[in-house]
Amino acid sequence: MDDLDDLYQEIILSHNKRPRNEGELNPHDHEAEGYNPLCGDRLQVYVRGGSDQIEAVQFTGEGCAISRASASMMTESVKSLGGAELEAKIAEVLQILTAKEEPTVDPFEMGELAALVGVRKFPPRVKCATLAWHTLQAALRDKNSISTESDD
């Protein structure tokens, strides 16, 4: 039960139920589709601006609570970031999700994103959580689609 409460924290459930920034972003400068072939989930990420400076990010697509919440939080947390700061944010999230060692998460600094750390105890769900972030990366690099299988 404990682990499950870690996974489905209130914050995750709430982002899943009422995702922020869901819907196609028009106009947009970049977009990509992320795909998890094992469960069939798909996610589109739309970006206005670019790596230097993100103006807005939105997403559409189907997915489980983890992938939707992660996408929703992603759109909020990278808005208005750019350059090294943006890269660091993406890297940080992927790091806490996939690093071999238990990460030390500073909830004060990470904000809501700290909730994602509960996914670590559910290895097959990690890809659900990383999907939005990988897709964002792909969009910024104008790679039109990524699949969780070829990507990590």
């Binding site: 489905y8 459930l13 469960c39 069939g40 609570a65 769900r125 659900c128």
Partner: protein
Amino acid sequence: MPEFNIDKIRAAFPILSREIGNKPLVYLDSGATAQKPKAVIDRLTHFYEFENANIHRGVHYLSMNATTEYDEARETIAKAIGAPKVEEVIFTRGATESVNLVSNGLSETLVEGDEIVLTLMEHHANFVPWQILAEKKGLTLKFANVTDTGEIDMEHWKSLFSSKTKLATFTHVSNALGTINPVKEMTAFAKDKSDALVLIDGAQAVPHGKVNISDLGCDFYVFSGHKVFGPDGIGILWGRGELLNAFQPFQSGGDMIEHVSVSGTTFRQIPERFEAGTPNISGAIGLAAAFDYMENEVGWEAAEAHEQSILKYATERLSEIEGLHIRGTAPDKVGVISFTMDSAHPHDIGTILDTCGVAIRAGHHCAQPLMEHYKIAGTARASLAFYNNREDIDALITGLEKVQRFFG
């Protein structure tokens, strides 16, 4: 045959007494792979500890004995599935390889413009090989629709046949929906309407009741050992001898050749023709042990009746859950229950059930065309075998209540 006693049956499957976390395992994923009775596990152990040898070419006792046992395994399986001729039973790695073997064999004779009739409920294993072949050869694939209850739309399916139809292939039982298709009638129609060959994918049928291939009228029938309580890495292709012997070999190497020389090679007839190299000897023997177990220790009819009673119970209990939709409600079904919930994604359902010790599948079940047809990304699927009981279903329901607590 002993009376069907579910507790005794469960005791014959060692894994069913294990715990997951500290909850008893509730295994509702037999559609993915079935659990193995002790009889099968012991047979494998005995083979490796006492009988292991390569077959065919040996003049020593162990090799002769292994050869006899391998041959007898083929006979046992042929008899169990009603194959008219023993040599028509080919050992493969599984249903997937069996379909690939046939698609490879037919690639020699099918020509541009020929048509294959499939259904939208095929597993990828009976879909992708034909798609690849169609692309290579310029064939046309025609897909029968599936109705809202999860049955093949028969009128539509029948309308797909033409004089160009060279193959009709369909699954005996849908792995994603549980629907039992009327394969005998379908085969008769196909044969009557065209001179199409008929291949039936029996991967999800064989574990749920006795199949008699002779009775079906088809040309090819495929299934996997691991889904029918047998070992990994073994499966069956049954096919009509005259068709199989006309196929070019699928793989080549030892045992399938008659004579090899630098100037040319001649191939043997079935079954050796398609069993190049050292086969999965213990796998074949173990699969025969699984059929023996079903025939002599359990009884297919009793197993089927029991499974149906659990299916009925499960369907009733699940129907009581608000916002839960069973996908696949055909009157003729095996114990496969696919469902979606308004509040929760299949993946989340699967994860929460797992924390209750309940093992189900979540996803597209290698049936993406079907999912696209239903416009869903996937379902949660509880799949039964004759070793499941009511307590398993109760645990499932309890788990789903937990899902609702999180997502309701």
